[in-house]
């Protein structure tokens, strides 16, 4: 084999393998979407159908009419948990990056909370919310979600602030800006994209949580993932309706993932790699 054919050969292998990876990645998502648009009598047929000739919106109508309030609950809980995390996380993220408050120990302790098992906190939170008569309220879920969102926000914002050269702030200070003015006019605009990225991630982590919402809500404040898990028992084989609801839960996350695509790896690796 000469060099040229070898190159073509290796390119072909690359494309084949990438193609297989794409099929494996996309097929489950396609299958869920397909199920959500298939008329009920076409579902769970043997052999399965890989395309539908009679697309229907009946399952989506069912999902929107019956599960909309859980969508709204998820929205309220995730936005609140995100807003609080960004607010306190910007302050402490800045302080950790610029003044090294608490040395390495404090930020690292906060980072370690990213691996804190929700099941361990769920038990005491259940008892506390029960005693405070807060079970099945939005607050009952927002508070434990702060365990998920705050450590992430602090750590990410700390990383983004550290990327802003200190000299920029010092130059503005020499020009007569107050310290707070420097933060507002120089640092904040520079890290604004980073804050948006952090907020979107916080929203997704809170949106995707299942355990806290499962234990701390019953019906009134139930989130969409809990509603999806509950449909299994209540409706037996309503595959179309569950698919449409599941797709409805996936949609916001997918839209955000498109915005985040350059940052996904950095966000999931907690900034360990860029």
């Amino acid at each position: 084999m000469n060099l040229r054919t070898r190159k073509i050969f290796s390119q072909t292998i690359t494309y084949i393998l990438i193609g297989i990876a794409l099929i494996f990645t996309l097929f489950p998502i396609y299958w869920m979407l397909l199920t959500s648009f298939q008329p009920s009598d076409e579902l769970m047929q043997s052999p399965p159908r890989f395309i539908t000739s009679r697309p229907t919106l009946e399952h989506w109508r069912f999902a929107i009419e019956n599960k909309w309030r859980y969508f709204i609950n998820s929205l309220i809980i995730s936005s609140s948990a995100t807003a609080i995390a960004i607010l306190v996380g910007s302050l402490s993220g800045y302080a950790f990056a610029r003044y090294r408050v608490g040395g390495d120990t404090l930020p690292f302790w906060i980072l370690s909370l990213k691996f804190f098992p929700p099941i361990a906190a769920a038990v005491p939170f259940f008892l506390m919310m029960n005693r405070l008569h807060l079970l099945d309220t939005h607050i009952a879920v927002i508070i434990p979600h702060l365990i998920i969102t705050i450590p992430f926000a602090v750590w990410m914002i700390k990383g983004f602030v550290a990327e802003v050269p200190r000299e920029l702030e010092e130059a503005a200070m020499i020009d007569g800006c107050s310290h707070l003015g420097v933060i507002r006019r120089v640092t904040l605009p520079l890290i604004a994209p980073g804050i948006v990225v952090t907020a979107l991630f916080c929203f997704i982590w809170s949106w995707n949580d299942f355990l806290f919402a499962l234990i701390l809500t019953r019906s009134h404040a139930m989130t969409l993932p809990v509603a999806i898990a509950g449909m299994r028992e209540a409706h037996g084989l309503m595959w179309g309706a569950v698919s449409a609801t599941a797709a409805m839960a996936t949609l916001p996350v997918l839209l955000m993932a498109i915005v985040l695509q350059k940052y996904i790896v950095r966000g999931l690796a907690l900034g360990a790699v860029k």
């Binding site: 390119q11 998502i29 869920m32 404090l106 370690s112 804190f116 038990v123 995707n208 996350v253 996904i264």
Partner: protein, 287 residues
């Protein structure tokens, strides 16, 4: 103390107050509960010392949960690391359409785990699901997947592999891309084969990143809950009952909050060992 020193501490204060209230306080509360007989249906919760922990460590079902969680850990890492690494090596090459392919391959890890569990119910459906259909098409017999005790854990592993291999791939790829080019150039000048380059250059240079992804995935796998809850609820029997599912069932099905708290604490201590290793590595990375 001047104003300059007090300012930064004030900035950190709100975060610390909240974290103490949502992490430290509940965990101490949970520790005290773990030393009590705490059944929600009984009004009195007497102090019982280490009895919950003794009952936990002598419960065959907890031994099973440890075994299931261990198998899950090994099975997932054995699949996700090689596949993720392979894909990362592929994506480190230049090819047409890479800018589109790369973000698509990262999608699964952003999807709500409950939804992934539900996708599994659709795909692995034994009678008319697409996976058994394809197996039959290739002349292989279909399997019972999550509905049989023999294959339920494998089904969980496969589903989680779908969702989390992209994480391995993404982080390893970021590591590969940031490797210094100089050693590669000199290796090529010296006429090293690509296998030699991989073995003697890429692997050793990438070791810190490899250790990092493996520890991060392990910490997450040890907590697996959502997918299993939707797919099998720990069954059939106790075939997929991880520590997380076990703790949930003890606490919120049998209402034995005391023992659930002790199980939660055992899990938290197990994880803290892994977290310590992780923090060491993060610390070294930054120096």
């Amino acid at each position: 103390m001047t104003r300059r020193r007090r300012g930064p501490i004030l900035l950190v204060l709100p975060t610390m107050v909240i974290l103490v209230l949502v992490v430290i306080f509940p965990m101490i509360y949970s520790l005290t509960v773990s030393f009590r007989f705490y059944d929600l249906r009984v009004p009195r919760h007497p102090f019982v010392g280490f009895e919950n922990y003794i009952r936990l460590f002598t419960d065959p079902r907890f031994h099973n949960a440890l075994r299931v969680t261990g198998l899950l850990l090994l099975g997932e890492l054995a699949l996700q690391f090689p596949i993720g690494f392979g894909l990362a090596l592929l994506l480190a090459r230049k090819f047409w359409g890479k800018k589109v392919v790369q973000p698509i391959l990262l999608i699964p890890m952003m999807i709500t785990p409950v939804v992934v569990g539900y996708m599994g119910r659709l795909l692995f459906e034994t009678r008319s699901g697409p996976i058994n259909y394809f197996l039959n098409l290739m002349g292989l017999p279909g399997a019972l997947w999550h509905t049989s005790a023999n294959t339920a854990l494998l089904t969980v592993i496969l589903l989680d592999t779908w969702q989390w291999t992209p994480f391995m791939m993404g982080v390893l790829l970021a590591g590969l891309v940031s490797l210094p080019p100089e050693p590669y150039e000199s290796a090529k000048v010296d006429g090293a084969s690509s296998l030699q380059i991989f073995w003697y250059l890429t692997l050793p240079l990438l070791k810190p990143v490899i250790a990092l992804v493996i520890i991060m995935r392990s910490l997450a796998i040890l907590q697996t809950f959502d997918i299993i809850y939707v797919l099998t609820m720990g069954g059939p029997g106790t075939a997929t009952e991880t520590i997380g599912i076990y703790t949930y069932l003890i606490g919120f099905r049998y209402w034995d909050i005391g023992q659930a708290s002790s199980a939660a604490w055992v899990l938290a201590i197990m994880l803290s060992i892994g977290v310590t290793i992780f923090l060491r590595m993060m610390g070294r990375e930054r120096r």
